[in-house]
């Protein structure tokens, strides 16, 4: 900045004023400073502004992994909304591990992010306490727990499982199976699925396809195991579309007709679901809009913080819902 002041022949405070409040500087002086900035390629230090204003304009976002397409879509939606408001995204991947999440939260708080976006509703007491103490806006995504830390945007994973079971039961399926990732939110979908079947005195055969991210390979293997346990299998609910597509491919390899012999329901309605043959019935959860809504909730809060207005309770939780998109596979 001193260089800019020297080249423009003005005081440093004038340069500072041109950057932060250009209207307060005479047009000729302003032009001289702007010329000097262009000539020297000077870039104002946004971090220095941070310390003074105690706003970093950075939002920390933690997802389990980017290799799961639906989290990538959520970040896409979130970053679009935040970027338009001049915020940037500091990204962390927890690998589905609470310890890694705890470390990332500490790092983000240390970097004085303005807000944090987390995935899921279950977390350690230590993280809850630390975030509560930090007093910054926090949005939990992809689930709706009983008691969000601060704000939450998502849907009920349990209700998703119930709806999938009802869809398969309505088709007349009675010998049901479940293939899922070994992970909290998938477990909630399984709980809803199992409870709904139990009301008809039915019990699903379950195969866990390992820790996420699950692969096409693990889906194909899981179908083999499921058929051994339940030879009359006539309907399968998968905890994501990758597993469900793998089941479709494996059925084709084994000469099993979908949906005539086995009906298949996926989850998350990725573009892949509409493209497969037969096309895949899935539960649509609008991952992109979920990220966008999380961003808007944060911006409302960050905006109202400066005007001193509190956010009403009704804006703290956004249930984005879900719907079953019935295609050919079930």
């Amino acid at each position: 900045m001193a260089d800019v002041a020297r080249v423009a022949g003005v005081a440093r405070v004038t340069v500072s004023r041109v950057l932060s409040n250009p209207q307060s500087v005479a047009p000729a002086t302003r032009a001289a400073v702007q010329d000097a900035i262009a000539k020297l390629g000077y870039v104002p230090n946004l971090n220095a502004g941070t310390l003074a204003s105690s706003r970093s304009r950075i939002v920390g976002c933690i997802v389990p992994t980017l290799s799961n397409a639906w989290f990538a879509e959520t970040i896409d939606g979130l970053s679009e909304v935040l970027a338009a408001a001049g915020y940037q995204l500091l990204l962390g991947q927890s690998g589905y591990g609470p310890a890694a999440e705890e470390r990332l939260v500490d790092t983000f708080l240390g970097r004085r992010v303005d807000a944090i976006v987390l995935t899921g509703s279950e977390r350690s007491e230590a993280v809850r306490a630390r975030l509560a103490a930090a007093g910054i806006p926090v949005v939990e995504t992809w689930d709706l727990g009983l008691e969000p830390l601060d704000m939450a945007v998502g849907f009920s994973n349990y209700a998703v499982g119930e709806a999938a079971a009802e869809h398969l039961l309505a088709r007349g399926c009675r010998h049901l199976g479940y293939i899922g990732a070994d992970e909290q939110r998938a477990d909630k979908r399984l709980a809803g699925f199992t409870a709904t079947l139990a009301r008809q005195d039915l019990e699903p055969a379950c195969v866990l396809a390992g820790r996420p991210p699950t692969s096409f390979n693990s889906g194909a293997q899981a179908l083999g195991e499921l058929l051994e346990r339940q030879p009359h299998l006539d309907g399968v609910f998968c905890s994501n579309d990758t597993l469900a597509a793998a089941v479709l491919f494996e059925c084709r390899r084994r000469g099993l007709q979908v949906p005539q012999q086995i009906a298949v329901v996926g989850f998350s309605d990725q573009p892949l679901a509409a493209a497969t043959v037969p096309s895949l019935t899935s539960v649509q959860v609008r991952s992109h809009e979920l990220g966008g809504e999380a961003g808007r909730m944060l911006l409302r809060r960050l905006g109202s913080a400066s005007t001193g207005k509190a956010l009403g309770g009704e804006h703290r939780i956004a249930d984005m819902g879900f719907r079953i998109v019935a295609r050919e596979s079930a």
């Binding site: 870039v43 970053s79 940037q88 970097r111 630390r130 793998a246």
Partner: protein, 324 residues
């Protein structure tokens, strides 16, 4: 910090030293400070530290879109390589627009990132010199050229397209076509494909170009458009595996045998290439390798080491499966 000092019964400068260089503090004092830190839930302000040391330990990373799984792989491996060394990633998307890239680079520079990772090597006018003047380590990824801004990790998209063309021609196909995004790297692959066809005296190659991001559902209509122009097409090279998977599904829907009626070749070797039916021939590019190599180059540069090789070619490999 003054609360911590009061609770630990030490001076402010001791707390600062305990946080920044614990080796310089007596063990008993260090333990007292750490106990106070834990008790008060104090978190050191890393932003303030970054002003003093002029290191932010933040890397700015720009990709066209993270919804494209190949870029997600690159970011994931870059983030874990840098994360192990205590760096975090500031992530932004250019949506394939050079002017967005330039604007985002400026804001990264303003935030005093320690280094920047870009996708591709064609940039808005002026960006190159602005980045060189910044003196920061810069890595361009997913492409290969002899004039990097600073560092480069990728492969030749032109050569990859040519290799795909040669594979198809070697398998006996004579009427090649292309479906891909109307974007820089995709067009380079198309040029490579066309060069291969010309060199072998095969028919010229019609192309269907899609405004990016190209989606799986684009393939069906684009195949119909190609066939309307050239009914004799016997092989299609797609700019990525997602489009190729969409094409395989479309062929199934039409009841066409692949590769008997038409051959399909992808690009990238995503998991779907191995999982689908028939299994897809493709050009394997390891996006995770690009991210990891970019991270290693940056860490070496940030540690003050000079690299002999500023351009790293990770190469590619044609993988033949059932669809060609």
């Amino acid at each position: 910090m003054s609360d911590v000092a009061a609770a630990a019964g030490v001076s402010l400068v001791t707390v600062s030293r305990a946080v920044n260089s614990p080796d310089q503090v007596a063990p008993a004092t260090l333990a007292a400070v750490r106990a106070a830190v834990a008790q008060l839930g104090y978190l050191p302000n890393l932003t303030a530290g970054s002003l003093a040391s002029s290191r932010s330990r933040i890397i700015g990373c720009l990709v066209p879109t993270i919804s494209n799984p190949v870029f997600a792989e690159t970011i994931e491996s870059l983030a874990s390589t840098m994360g192990d060394a205590g760096y975090q990633l500031l992530l932004a998307q250019t949506h394939y627009r050079a002017e967005d890239e330039a604007r985002l680079v400026d804001s990264f520079l303003g935030r005093r990132v320690d280094a920047i990772v870009l996708t591709g090597m064609s940039h808005a006018a002026g960006l190159r010199s602005r980045l060189q003047r910044s003196g920061l380590p810069i890595v361009e990824t997913w492409d290969l050229g002899d004039q990097p801004i600073d560092l480069m990790v990728g492969f030749s998209n032109h050569e990859a397209g040519r290799a795909a063309g040669e594979h198809l021609l070697d398998r006996g196909y004579r009427h090649l076509a292309f479906i891909g995004a109307d974007s820089d790297r995709s067009l380079q692959r198309l040029e490579g494909l066309r060069a291969a066809a010309r060199a072998r005296g095969a028919a010229d190659v019609p192309a269907e170009l899609i405004l990016p991001p190209a989606q799986i559902e684009d393939s069906g209509p684009r195949l119909a458009a190609l066939l309307a122009r050239r009914p004799e097409i016997d092989a299609v090279f797609c700019n990525n595996d997602t489009l190729a998977a969409g094409l395989l599904f479309e062929c199934r829907r039409r009841g066409w045998d692949v590769p008997g009626r038409i051959a399909v070749m992808g690009f990238g070797d995503l998991p779907i290439a191995r999982a689908g039916f028939p299994r897809m021939s493709t050009v394997q590019v390891r996006g995770s390798c690009i991210g990891a190599r970019a991270g290693q180059l940056l860490l070496a540069r940030l540690a003050g080491q000079q690299q002999a090789d500023t351009v790293v070619n990770i190469g590619f490999e044609v993988v033949q499966r059932e669809s060609t």
